[in-house]
């Protein structure tokens, strides 16, 4: 039943290779991708072992926890804090709806933090149960690859276990990194930011990616002064430019100080807090400095070079379309491969891996039309191409439909913040190439739109869908007039 294999040549080798292995699959790292791959492989009948570092909210070389980044140090705790922070503005908005609230609302950071930690501990337990229910053997300790079919797990007490496995899966994820500036040890990363003892009064966030804007929103929502520094003109490089500008405007509207095209150059400890210096010569004092300047794959202590697993120049494990590394028996999924670093993508990769290796069904993860969300306040969510990407890739003209409106809730609350939605359409085929939205509920709204885009829905199909009234989402099916048409005729048509 076990040891089903995909690749034909391997099948042919089966007989001579009918050597005994302790496991059909040994997974290093029990995060989203690793747990998914382990469980699904076990469900296909494989004998699976998995190792993971001991649990702690803050990760290190020797600390991790079943559940991985998403559950312990990412999506889940982040979203919990976003919920908590969003109440700040929600409650302000309540006043014009007739609610009498105290002038100053009391917020207890420790309570939120405590409840968040309880919740991730609970989830950590659930994940462990899921693995054991699936029949996956879990080892606590640091995994290392000794040979193409050999792993070694160093347990907490220092004892080492050695196992042979037909397949090894690397799913060790990634960790936040700090920029090499003087005083960088005074700053924190998102791990610590999710577990701060006290709510910062004045936070400095360095970085322009989604993690930076999410933490800026969280702390601002809970009442802190926040200064956000980033290298580009706008935050969220890689997203649609127009939407980036909307996010920037909203962050500013919510009271976050933006410092575009600015780098931090030095942190110095003072009696009043951390003195932050920028490359523009600005100086300010903060009690927390967050580096959200990127994450690096956890590939260092796995002994990969020794067994011949190739890494790219960022340290990511190189894999083919089936998630196989340069060593045929070793595979890798999730952030450690630095493809598209999202939980649901790691799940997809893990599922495809299990299908490919143990399900007799070679499956490539499909990276087209992967939707994603930035849980800033208000959030941004996108699927498909940005306007810039569409123009870049289009053969013909690109039609852009935008809608900027005051959400109905704001009409009474008085909040000055517009929701912006956008559809990018191929003029020739009428296919919707990209959709984006910045405004309340954007991530929830975008999921269904993503199904439509994934299947090549046309603008006409959007238009033929009746709206749900009154909702914000209905705007996506009622965009009648083109905001602009971008002629891409300058480019040679490849289909001629």
């Amino acid at each position: 039943m076990a040891r089903k294999m995909l690749v034909d040549e391997e099948m042919n080798q089966t007989n001579q290779e009918e050597a005994y292995y302790d496991f059909d699959l040994f997974v290093i790292g029990a995060g989203s991708g690793g747990v998914r791959a382990a469980r699904f492989s076990a469900n296909y009948g494989a004998k699976v072992g998995i190792c993971e570092l001991p649990f702690h909210p803050i990760s290190s070389e020797v600390i991790g926890g079943v559940g991985g980044t998403c559950v312990i140090r990412g999506c889940v705790p982040k979203k919990i804090l976003v919920y908590g922070a969003a109440f700040g503005s929600e409650l302000e908005d309540a006043r014009n709806y007739g609610w009498d609230l105290n002038e100053k609302l009391d917020f207890n950071w420790k309570k939120l933090l405590h409840k968040k930690t309880d919740e991730i501990i609970r989830l950590n337990g659930i994940y462990k149960r899921l693995l054991s229910n699936a029949g996956v053997k879990l080892f606590e300790g640091e995994g290392k690859i000794v040979g193409p079919n050999e792993v070694e797990v160093t347990q907490l007490d220092g004892t080492k276990l050695s196992y042979s496995a037909k397949h090894i899966l690397i799913a060790t994820g990634s960790r936040a990194h700090r920029p090499p500036i003087p005083g960088q040890e005074l700053g924190i990363t998102s791990d610590e930011a999710l577990s701060l003892e006290d709510l910062p009064k004045h936070a400095v966030v360095f970085g322009g990616g989604y993690i930076a804007v999410e933490f800026a929103s969280i702390w601002r929502g809970l009442g802190a002064n926040v200064d956000l520094f980033f290298r580009k003109e706008l935050p969220l490089r890689g997203f649609d430019d127009e939407m980036r500008a909307v996010v920037a405007r909203n962050l500013e509207g919510r009271g976050i100080n933006l410092h575009p095209q600015t780098n931090l150059t030095e942190l110095i400890k003072t009696d009043n807090g951390i003195k932050v210096t920028t490359d523009h010569g600005e100086e300010l004092i903060a009690d927390v400095v967050l580096f959200a300047t990127g994450r690096l794959p956890n590939s260092k202590r796995l002994n990969l070079e020794a067994v011949g697993v190739e890494l790219d120049n960022t340290g990511a494990v190189k894999v083919d379309e089936y998630s196989r590394t340069s060593i045929p028996s070793i595979w890798a999924v999730g952030d450690v491969t630095n493809r598209m670093n999202l939980t649901p993508v790691a799940l997809m990769e893990g599922t495809c891996f299990a299908k490919t290796v143990f399900g007799k069904e070679p499956s490539k993860p499909d990276y087209s039309h992967v939707p994603c969300a930035v849980f800033s306040i208000p959030p941004l969510s996108v699927v498909g191409l940005s306007e810039e990407q569409a123009i870049e890739q289009a053969n013909g003209d690109v039609l852009v439909f935008t809608s900027t409106f005051n959400p109905m809730k704001n009409t009474v609350s008085g909040r000055q913040e517009k929701t912006v939605m956008k559809l990018v359409v191929d003029a020739e085929t009428d296919k919707v190439l990209g959709a984006s939205m910045c405004g309340p509920d954007a991530p929830e709204i975008m999921q269904g739109i993503a199904v439509a885009l994934k299947c090549g829905a046309t603008k006409a199909q959007f238009d033929s869908t009746v709206g749900i009234h009154p909702s914000a989402a209905e705007e996506f099916v009622t965009m009648r007039s083109v905001s602009r048409r971008i002629t891409c005729s300058g480019k040679p048509k490849t289909n001629l």
């Binding site: 469900n43 609610w99 989830l123 799940l347 109905m408 869908t465």
Partner: protein, 588 residues
């Protein structure tokens, strides 16, 4: 929600505009000659005949050309009308049809009653039910009332209130009404900008081409009836003490203890509103369950969730009389007994089309037994020059449907593009607390129509509730045609359902399959991602055996069983908790 994002459609039909310019000018005739039609009877009868020949209508482009040819030949006198289109009623459907018609080059007038928050034979207002007495004020009240739940939630997230938040009713009413005034103004502006003549007053049809507005006569090539519907209170003793939804949206003070009679969406929405604004709420329904016509599981789920928030349901209890006591409080007598002490009794027992006193009978516009105007697929009444859209036709009574009907009519009449509204896969929402969003068929309808279906359900505690500690849950359901794999129904009850359902409605309308849903990557962490991660069916229903076939839970069966049963809808098991709060591990 596009309350401030009105964009004028840039559709136009040069051909038709040319025609219009030629056409009315060919015969300069004094305006408002009500008897005119009789003089022109030969032409008119021919005109009518013309349509009848092509009934159900086939609007060949040559129709207009033919008419013009006649006029230019001078063989037939050509009728001049004050307007190409006269619309009675400036609600969602009427405004949409009028604006679009004007944008297509037609000369258009619309009449509407003076503004009031309470509708009557003599009051209405530009914007109609949706803007003044329906969707908009209702949603604003929902926003206001949702806060009490949010205060409770926020406690679990570390927020604290020295004193319990109190609600000031008059602030809400004042701000709500200011917004309604603004919106009615915006709607007037929209009409004005589109070049539509707005006439304030009560329109009545005099003949197939003439409308009387408070004694003044206007002729029109086409007349559109879009007068909507009004709440209906059954005739029981004491009905004069009851209020309807119009009044409930504009009460001078908070109802302390309110009875709501009815189990439809309006009843549930108001139950949520008053409950959230801290009234004591009792809902009386004739049936065993709320929301007849909705998916049975959704009916059960929303009832449970609302009861958990403190609403008291009295099932299978029909009102018989209302009695006013000496202290001014009201008692509701039902088939099961009498409940006393209500400050307000609201009836949400249905709505009726506003077809009285429109002169319909005299011109021969046929009305069905519910009082709704009978129309064909193009919204044409039994009188060829008279059309009707929106609630007055009692098809699907939703604002976006009225908009669709209005837009289709404008295209049919003035753009040479005969267009039928498409009623397939119309999504809708109930803004109860928690809200419902749905599109396509219920399970019961699906079985009837397709026989063999697969049903996927999820019932989980959302991440927010694990922190807040409140008993909030989310229920989701996909109904898939077993033969084609198409998703034919999608239902959700829980936070953000209305917003979530819209995008999926595009997918369902486009006829996408379950495999298409599965191929879509989730957005994490959201509730919506559950719709693209439902892997094993909760049940498979097969016509052949006439009974449920146990779902083949394929390779995930064991894992599911171990964490609490493969049936995700079983609220007693912890699977549901797993499902949402640790999405990536969700076994489904």
């Amino acid at each position: 929600m596009a309350t401030t994002s009105f964009t004028a459609p840039k559709l136009s039909s040069p051909t038709f505009q040319t025609l219009c310019r030629n056409f009315p000018l060919s015969l300069p005739i004094p305006k408002t000659l009500s008897s005119f039609s009789f003089h022109l009877s030969p032409f008119l009868s021919r005109f009518h005949l013309h349509h009848h020949h092509y009934h159900p209508p086939r609007f060949h482009p040559r129709r207009l050309f033919a008419v013009r040819a006649e006029s230019e030949n001078g063989a037939e006198p050509i009728r001049h009308y004050d307007f190409d289109l006269f619309t009675i009623g400036a609600g969602s459907g009427g405004v949409r049809a009028s604006r679009f018609a004007a944008n297509f080059g037609a000369s258009v007038a619309v009449c509407e009653l003076p503004f009031s928050t309470i509708s009557s034979e003599t009051t209405g207002g530009v914007g109609g039910t949706c803007v003044l007495r329906g969707c908009v004020p209702k949603k604003l009240m929902v926003y206001a009332s949702k806060y009490s739940h949010e205060f409770d939630e926020s406690n679990g997230f570390g927020w604290k209130y020295d004193t319990e938040p109190k609600h000031d009713w008059s602030t809400l009413m004042a701000n709500k009404n200011a917004e309604l005034q603004r919106l009615t103004g915006i709607y007037k502006n929209i009409l004005n900008k589109a070049g539509v003549t707005l006439i304030e007053g009560r329109g009545k049809i005099v003949d197939p081409h003439t409308v009387d507005v408070d004694g003044k006569l206007y002729t029109a090539r086409n007349i559109l009836i879009s007068v909507g519907g009004r709440p209906f209170i059954p005739d029981i003793p004491g009905r004069e003490y009851a209020i309807d939804s119009d009044a409930a949206l504009d009460l001078p003070s908070k109802p302390e203890k309110v009875a709501i009679v009815g189990g439809g969406y309006i009843a549930l929405e108001f139950a949520g509103i008053f409950n959230g604004l801290t009234s004591e709420v009792h809902v009386f329904i004739r049936q065993k369950k709320v929301l007849r016509g909705f998916d049975e599981e959704i009916r059960d789920f929303v009832g449970e969730q609302m009861a958990l928030r403190g609403i008291q349901f009295h099932t299978e209890e029909s009102p018989q009389a209302i009695v006013k006591s000496a202290d001014g409080s009201l008692s509701l007598k039902t088939n099961k007994g009498t409940i006393e002490g209500f400050s307000h009794i609201m009836f949400a027992t249905g709505r009726r089309p506003n077809t009285k006193n429109l002169g319909l009978e005299s011109v021969g516009v046929k009305i069905n037994k519910n009082g709704a105007i009978e129309v064909d697929e193009y919204s044409r009444t039994t009188v060829p020059s008279i059309w009707a859209v929106g609630d007055v036709t009692d098809r699907i009574n939703l604002t976006p449907v009225a908009l669709m009907e209005g837009a289709a009519l404008a295209k049919t009449l003035f753009q040479n593009e005969p267009t039928k509204p498409d009623y397939r896969a119309v999504p809708s929402a109930v803004f109860s607390q928690p809200p419902i969003g749905q599109v396509g068929l219920t399970e019961e309808q699906a079985i009837k129509e397709y026989g063999d279906i697969d049903v996927y359900t999820a019932n989980f505690r959302p991440l927010k509730a694990t922190l807040s500690g409140l008993p909030d849950r989310v229920f989701m359901k996909l109904i898939v045609c077993a033969k084609t794999n198409k998703v034919i129904g999608l239902h959700m009850c829980g936070e953000d359902s209305a917003e979530i359902a819209q995008g999926f409605a595009v997918a369902v309308k486009a006829g996408l399959t379950k495999a298409d849903f599965d191929a879509t990557v989730g957005i994490h962490p959201t509730s919506a991602e559950e719709f693209v991660t439902m892997r094993s069916p909760t049940r498979k229903i097969r016509q052949s055996s006439e009974s449920q076939v146990d779902a083949d839970c394929n390779l995930y069966y064991d894992a599911n069983k171990l964490v609490g049963g493969k049936n995700g809808s079983d609220t007693k098991f912890p699977l549901c908790i797993l499902v949402k709060t640790c999405m990536p591990c969700h076994t489904s």
